[in-house]
Symmetry: C2
Subunit: 175 residues, 2 copies
């Protein structure tokens, strides 16, 4: 059985959307996901550099993240044909470790928690595929990297790109 490693933030969780909501509330702004096209949060507004860490320091930030459309049912289907690992870069925010685990148990309860991996550098991952929104993780991965479309990576080329979970299903299940 081939093995697919799947990132969390921006792939199965609406990470930047939550950051925008908190930022808008704090600074009385009205940024939307549309404003983030082709940009990282800090490129949209430099004040994010000083504020994001404070949002992430709160357990409820991770616990409240919304699930990306179709990720649950597509991953459940994939798990009949592939070994599924959830692989998230969590070491930059160690306080996220426990809430990320709880979030996965809540929203992806059908997955085996022995296949959750919290790491930093994803070159350590031994899998056939990695679905990730961050090009630098795909660059060091030893298998086939797949760029999952997120607002910030819209203009990046040179990767196999899948835009949403229906496209992931079609790619892996030959639909």
């Amino acid at each position: 059985m081939k093995r697919i490693a799947i990132d969390m933030d921006e792939v199965i969780t609406h990470f930047s959307t939550s950051c925008l909501e908190l930022f808008n509330k704090e600074f009385d702004e009205n940024y939307t996901t549309e404003d983030l096209q082709g940009k990282l949060l800090v490129e949209l507004d430099a004040r994010f550099a000083d504020t994001v860490d404070s949002y992430l320091a709160n357990d409820s930030f991770f616990l409240d993240l919304k699930v990306i459309k179709d990720s649950q049912n597509v991953i459940q289907k994939l798990s009949s044909y592939y070994e599924i690992y959830i692989v998230t870069a969590a070491m930059e925010f160690p306080a996220s470790l426990a809430p990320k685990y709880q979030w996965l148990k809540q929203h992806f309860s059908f997955l085996d928690d022995k296949k959750f991996v919290f790491c930093g550098d994803k070159s350590i991952i031994h899998a056939d595929y990695l679905i990730d929104d961050t090009p630098s993780h795909l660059d060091t991965f030893s298998g086939q990297g797949i760029l999952f479309t997120a607002p910030h990576n819209r203009d990046i080329t040179g990767y196999t790109r899948l835009n949403n979970w229906q496209e992931v299903a079609a790619y892996f299940l030959n639909l």
Copy 2:
């Protein structure tokens, strides 16, 4: 640069020693590491099955673990010649995630936390070597597994075995 993945419990931390100390206190026993030779905790005394989880549920259990002799200076030397990853099975006790991270930052501050990996199944690890006290982790690892001697694995054969950190230094640094 070749890559060495290193387990935590019983390889760089005195995990079972701490369990014995807490158990002896709770049940007025006098078990020592010598009693654990060739046995898991639960094989030494069936009451461990009901008590170990309560010890681990306390953050201070992980924070207070003692460092195994010579592991710090040998790993520091190895890190000049090899990429060092710390790879620990933490998903069975999610409450251990944050304190394990803190322990590593405290006792192995020279290591890059982007190279800490908290996982379940270690077959996901892409490295040249894995130093681990648990044979089942070595069995599914794709690189060269090395059994680090711990009381419970004393009688197990069929693996490349290193008994202490001086032997690890000799093996990897051709001393």
